[in-house]
C-alpha cells in the first residue's frame, strides 16, 4: 500500500502541475482576461463608442460571466470550467476583434485597444497552461507544423507562393463576415464530430454519419414543408419546429440503430453495415425522396438547381438566426446570418460532456470502450450499450443537415455532402473531447471557407485546403500515438525509480 501510494505521488509530481499551482495560474489567467474585458465593458456601457444600450448590457453580462468562471475555476479547477472559460474567451475575442476591424477600417487604432488585445492573449495562454500539460499541446502543435510544411512544399512544387497563400487565408479570416461563414461551417462539423465520437468512445465505428444526416435532413425538411401548408399551418410555428427536430433525430437514430441492431442480433460488423447503409441512404432513399418530394415550381421559376428542393418551410417554423449576439459593430451582412444551430451545437457539446463524464451511463459507455470484458464482468450489458450508443449517435447525426435546411428553408438535391466524413476527421483531431472537437471544427471550418479566397485571388489552387485537412488529421493521429507512447514510457520509468527508492 505504502509503495503504491508513493508511486502515485511521485508520478503526480513529475508529470502534472500540482493542484494548487494549477488553481493559482488559472486564477491569474482569468483575472487578466477579466481586466482586459472590464474597461472595455465600461467604455461600451458609457456609450463612448456610440454603441447601443443593449450592447453595453450584453457586454457587461459577459464580464459578469467571466467573474463567475473565475470563481468556479478557483473552486474546482476542473476541465468543465476551463471549457466555459474558453468559450467565453472566444466570445470576447469575437467582440474585441470586431472592434479592431472597425478601427482598422478607420485607420485610427487606439493604443489601448492593442494593449487589451495583448493582455487578452496572455490570459488565454495562461488559461491553456493551467488546464493542459505541455505534452498535450506538443502533439497538435507538431501536427500543425507538419501540415504547414507539407502543404507549403506542395504549393511550392507547383509554383505557388505558400506565404502569399497563407497570408490571404488569414487576412480573409480576419473579416467578421468570413468568421460568420466559419462558424456556420464549424457548427455542422461539430455536431457530426460528436455523433461520431459517441461511437468512438466505445470502439464502435459509426462510419455512416454521412447517410444518417442526409436522409434525416431530407425527411425533416419534407415534414417541415408539409406542416407549413394547410391544414397544418395553423399549428404554432415553434411546435412545428420541434416536430422538425424530433423527426430529424428519429430518422437519424433509426438509420444508425439499424446498424446497431444488426450488430447485436446478427453479429454484423458495424463498419461494414454502416458503409452499406450509407450507399443505400444516399443513392437509394435520398435519390428517391428528392424526386418524390420535389415541390412544384412557382410561377416564373426555371428548372435551375437552386430552385429545386422540397416544399419550403415557412419562416415561423424555421429556427431563428442569432446574428444579433455577435453583431455589435453592425457590419455582418444581412444575407449572411449566424445559424441558430450554433447554440444547439453548443448545448449538444455540453450535454455530451455531462453525459459522458457525469452520469453512470457515460461511465458504462467509456468502460465498454476501454475494456469490454471488464465492463461486462462489472454488469454493463454490452448489447444494450451498443444499441443505445448507435441510437444516440444517429440522433445527433440527424441534426447536422438541419443547419443547411434552416438556412435555405428546404432540402436541395445538391445539399452539402461530406460533412459526415469531415466530422469523423474532426472527432479524431479533437480526440473525442468536447473542447478539442470545437477547436478542430473551427480549424476545419476555417480551411473549408479559405478555399473561396484562394480561388478569388488565385495565389494557389483552392484544393490545397482539403490536402491540409487530410494531412493534419493523419499527422495528428500519429503525433497523439507517439505522445502517448512517450508518456507511457516516462511513467514506467518514473514508477521503476519510485519503486527502487521504496526498496532502498
Amino acid at each position: 500500500m505504502a509503495a503504491s501510494h508513493a508511486v502515485t505521488e511521485s508520478a503526480d509530481k513529475d508529470f502534472s502541475m500540482s493542484q494548487t499551482s494549477r488553481r493559482a495560474v488559472s486564477v491569474v489567467g482569468l483575472a487578466i482576461i477579466l481586466l482586459t474585458i472590464l474597461p472595455w465593458v465600461t467604455l461600451e456601457a458609457t456609450s463612448m463608442r456610440g454603441l447601443s444600450f443593449t450592447t453595453g448590457i450584453l457586454a457587461a453580462c459577459i464580464g459578469l460571466a467571466c467573474v463567475a468562471t473565475t470563481i468556479t475555476a478557483f473552486a474546482f479547477a476542473r476541465i468543465t470550467t476551463a471549457l466555459m472559460g474558453v468559450a467565453l474567451v472566444v466570445l470576447a475575442f469575437v467582440l474585441v476583434k470586431s472592434e479592431l476591424d472597425r478601427d482598422l477600417f478607420e485607420n485610427t487604432l487606439p493604443t489601448t485597444l492593442w494593449f487589451w488585445f495583448a493582455t487578452f492573449v496572455a490570459g488565454l495562454v495562461l488559461l491553456a497552461l493551467a488546464f493542459m500539460q505541455p505534452q498535450d499541446l506538443a502533439a497538435p502543435g507538431a501536427a500543425m507544423a507538419l501540415t504547414i510544411i507539407v502543404s507549403s512544399l506542395a504549393l511550392w512544387a507547383f509554383g505557388s507562393n505558400p506565404v502569399d497563400a497563407f497570408t490571404d487565408m488569414v487576412n480573409h479570416a480576419a473579416s467578421i463576415n468570413t468568421q460568420v461563414d466559419i462558424w456556420n461551417r464549424a457548427t455542422p462539423l461539430y455536431l457530426s464530430a460528436i455523433a461520431a465520437s459517441i461511437g468512438f468512445r466505445m470502439n464502435l465505428f459509426n462510419i455512416g454519419v454521412e447517410g444518417q444526416y442526409l436522409i434525416a435532413a431530407l425527411v425533416a425538411a419534407h415534414v417541415g414543408g408539409v406542416l407549413s401548408q394547410a391544414p397544418w399551418a395553423t399549428i404554432p410555428g415553434f411546435l412545428r419546429l420541434i416536430v422538425v427536430f424530433l423527426v430529424a433525430m428519429t430518422v437519424g437514430a433509426v438509420w444508425a440503430g439499424l446498424a446497431g441492431l444488426l450488430n447485436v442480433t446478427r453479429g454484423v460488423n458495424v463498419v461494414i453495415s454502416t458503409i452499406m447503409l450509407n450507399f443505400i441512404a444516399v443513392s437509394g432513399l435520398m435519390a428517391w425522396g428528392v424526386q418524390a418530394w420535389q415541390a412544384d415550381l412557382r410561377e416564373g421559376e426555371s428548372l435551375a438547381a437552386s430552385n429545386l428542393g422540397t416544399t419550403p418551410i415557412d419562416d415561423s417554423s424555421v429556427l431563428p438566426h442569432i446574428t444579433g449576439l455577435f453583431d455589435f459593430a453592425g457590419d455582418i451582412r444581412e444575407n449572411n446570418p449566424v445559424s441558430g444551430m450554433l447554440l444547439i451545437a453548443a448545448i449538444v457539446g455540453i450535454g455530451y460532456y455531462v453525459l459522458l463524464n457525469r452520469t453512470t451511463f457515460g461511465f458504462d459507455l467509456r468502460s465498454s470502450g476501454i475494456n469490454p470484458f471488464a465492463a461486462r464482468a462489472g454488469g454493463v450489458p454490452p448489447k444494450r450499450m451498443i444499441l443505445i450508443a448507435m441510437l444516440l449517435s444517429g440522433a445527433i447525426a440527424g441534426l447536422i443537415g438541419l443547419v443547411e435546411v434552416f438556412e435555405i428553408s428546404k432540402f436541395r438535391p445538391n445539399q452539402i455532402q461530406g460533412l459526415g466524413f469531415g466530422g469523423i476527421a474532426v472527432a479524431l483531431l479533437g480526440r473525442n473531447s468536447p473542447a478539442g472537437m470545437a477547436f478542430a471544427a473551427l480549424l476545419f471550418g476555417f480551411l473549408d471557407i479559405s478555399a473561396g479566397i484562394l480561388q478569388q485571388t488565385e495565389t494557389a489552387s483552392q484544393e490545397i485546403v482539403k490536402i491540409m485537412q487530410g494531412i493534419v488529421l493523419l499527422a495528428a493521429v500519429i503525433a497523439y500515438e507517439i505522445a502517448s507512447r512517450v508518456k507511457t514510457r516516462d511513467e514506467a520509468k518514473a514508477t521503476a525509480e519510485a519503486l527502487a527508492e521504496v526498496a532502498v
Binding site: 507547383f158 464502435l204 444488426l262 463498419v271 453495415s273 437509394g284 454490452p382 493523419l474 493521429v477
Partner: protein, 446 residues
C-alpha cells in the same frame, strides 16, 4: 475494430474461436480441409455451380419474359464492373490476412486512378499501368507507416487516407491538367478475343466464332450459356485477364508458399510468428503495400478505356468499400472475393443494359427464389427466426414482382448493397476473420 460478433460473442466464443482458428488455419483457399476427400476437383465443382446459376437465370428469364439476363452485353458489363471490386477485394485480402484492416482501399484506388491516368498520358499505357500500381502502393505505404510503425488505429488511418487521396488527386489534377476533376482521354493496353470460341484471330487467321453459332441456334439454356460466355471472351481487356489471373496467383501465394504462411501468421498469431523468428513488421509492411498496389491496379482499371477512359473525379464510386464488402462476403478467400465481385458486377451491369427496367424486374423473381432456398436451408438447420425472415423477404419480393411491371431506378442502384447486407445478416456468424485482425502488434508485447 471489435470482432463481427460484438462484445458478447467475443466473450462467449473465446474458446470456440481458438478451436476454429486451429481448423481454419489448416484449410486451403477454398475452405477445403486437408482431410476432406471429395470426388470432384475444386475447379469442376465451381464449374457446376456456375452452370446451376446459369440454369436458374435461364428459368427466371423464361418466366420473366426478358432476354437480357443471359445476354452477352450483360456478361461483358458484369466482368467490366467486377474488375475494380475484385482487385480492391484482393488488396483487402492481403492486408487483412496480415491482420491490418484496410478501409483506405477506396483512397488507394483513387490514387491508382490518378497515377494510372497520368502515367498513361506521359509514358503510354503499359508504363501507366505500373505507375498506377505504384500510386496505390504509395497509399499502402502511408497506411503501413501509420498502422504498423506507429500503431495508429487502423480504421482511423484508413479514414484519413480516404480523405487525403481525393483531395490530393484533385489538387494534382488542377495543377497538371488545369481541371480539378478530369484528365484528357487516355489509351488502354488493348483487348483480345478468344480464338475459335469467340472468333479471335491467331497470326492473322480469322478463327470461327463457335459460341456465336451456338448462341444463334436459340436452343434453350445451351444458347444462353454460349451467349453469356461469349460476352466474357470477346473484346476482353487485357486488364481483365490480368485481374482474373491474379485470383489463383493470390491463392497460391498466400496458401502454398512460405511467404504466404508467414504473412497469414502475422494476421492470426503474430506473437507465435515472432517466436519462430518471423519479422512480423516486415510482413505486415509488405502485405499492406501489396494491398495498396492491388487497389491501385483497380484504380487503373477504372481510369482505363475499359471503364472511363480518363481520370474522372468520383468515378471510384465507393468501389473500394464494395471490395471490402466482397472480401467479407467471400470469407477472406480469393474465390469468394471473385464470386462477390461478379455478383456485384452482374447486378450493376444488368442495370446499365436495362433501360426499360424489365430485366431488373425479373431479378426480383430471382431474389425471391434465392431467398426461398435460403429459408429452406435455415429451417433444415433449425434456425427458425432466420427461416421466417428469409421467407418473409421471399414473399415480399415475389409480391413486388407480381404486382409491378418495372422496378424504380433507385432500387437497382442500391441492390448490390442490399445483397451484401443480407448476406452479412444471414451468414455473418459463419464467417471467420483473421484472429488478430485490427489488433495493433508490438514486438515483445503480449
Amino acid at each position: 475494430m471489435t470482432g463481427p460478433g460484438g462484445l458478447t460473442d467475443q466473450y462467449n466464443d473465446a474458446t470456440k474461436k481458438i478451436a476454429a482458428q486451429l481448423h481454419g488455419a489448416g484449410s486451403g483457399p477454398n475452405g477445403k480441409r486437408s482431410t476432406d476427400t471429395r470426388a470432384l476437383p475444386t475447379w469442376l465443382q465451381w464449374m457446376l455451380y456456375a452452370l446451376a446459376a446459369m440454369l436458374l437465370l435461364t428459368i427466371v428469364q423464361s418466366i420473366g419474359g426478358t432476354e437480357k439476363l443471359t445476354s452477352a452485353p450483360v456478361s461483358r458489363e458484369m466482368l467490366r464492373w467486377a474488375l475494380p471490386v475484385l482487385l480492391a477485394g484482393l488488396g483487402g485480402l492481403f492486408a487483412e490476412r496480415a491482420g491490418v484492416v484496410n478501409i483506405g482501399l477506396e483512397g488507394m484506388m483513387i490514387m491508382g486512378m490518378w497515377f494510372g491516368a497520368w502515367g498513361a498520358l506521359e509514358f503510354g499505357p503499359w508504363i501507366g499501368l505500373l505507375v498506377g500500381i505504384g500510386g496505390g502502393a504509395l497509399g499502402g505505404l502511408i497506411h503501413a507507416v501509420a498502422t504498423v510503425t506507429f500503431s495508429v488505429d487502423q480504421i482511423i488511418s484508413g479514414v484519413a487516407i480516404n480523405l487525403l487521396a481525393p483531395a490530393g488527386t484533385r489538387y494534382l489534377s488542377q495543377e497538371v491538367w488545369g481541371s480539378p476533376s478530369q484528365s484528357p482521354r487516355i489509351q488502354g493496353i488493348g483487348d483480345w478475343d478468344v480464338p475459335v470460341l469467340a472468333g479471335g484471330s491467331v497470326f492473322g487467321w480469322e478463327s470461327p466464332d463457335v459460341l456465336l453459332t451456338i448462341a444463334k441456334k436459340e436452343w434453350w439454356f445451351i444458347s444462353d450459356v454460349a451467349d453469356f460466355s461469349r460476352g466474357l471472351m470477346r473484346g476482353t481487356s487485357l486488364l481483365a485477364l490480368i485481374a482474373v489471373a491474379l485470383v489463383p496467383l493470390c491463392a497460391w501465394l498466400l496458401w502454398r508458399t512460405r511467404f504466404g504462411l508467414r504473412l497469414r501468421i502475422a494476421g492470426e498469431r503474430p506473437q507465435a510468428g515472432e517466436a519462430q523468428g518471423v519479422n512480423i513488421y516486415a510482413y505486415k509492411y509488405v502485405a499492406v503495400i501489396i494491398s495498396g498496389a492491388l487497389a491501385g491496379l483497380g484504380g487503373v482499371v477504372i481510369s482505363s478505356p475499359e471503364l472511363s477512359g480518363q481520370f474522372l473525379e468520383g468515378n471510384s464510386g465507393g468501389r473500394g468499400f464494395i471490395g471490402l464488402a466482397a472480401l467479407i462476403f467471400g470469407n477472406w478467400r480469393p474465390l469468394g472475393i471473385l464470386l462477390g465481385a461478379l455478383l456485384y458486377g452482374y447486378v450493376f451491369g444488368l442495370d446499365l443494359k436495362d433501360l426499360d427496367g424489365t430485366a431488373s424486374h425479373a431479378l426480383l423473381l430471382l431474389n425471391s427464389i434465392v431467398l426461398t432456398g435460403l429459408a429452406g436451408w435455415a429451417f433444415t438447420r433449425r434456425r427458425v427466426a432466420d427461416g421466417i425472415f428469409a421467407g418473409a423477404l421471399a414473399v415480399g419480393a415475389f409480391a413486388w414482382w407480381q404486382l409491378s411491371d418495372t422496378v424504380p431506378n433507385w432500387w437497382s442502384n442500391i441492390l448490390p448493397y442490399v445483397v451484401v447486407l443480407l448476406v452479412l445478416v444471414f451468414f455473418a456468424q459463419r464467417l471467420r476473420e483473421p484472429a488478430a485482425l485490427g489488433t495493433p502488434y508490438r514486438r515483445g508485447g503480449s
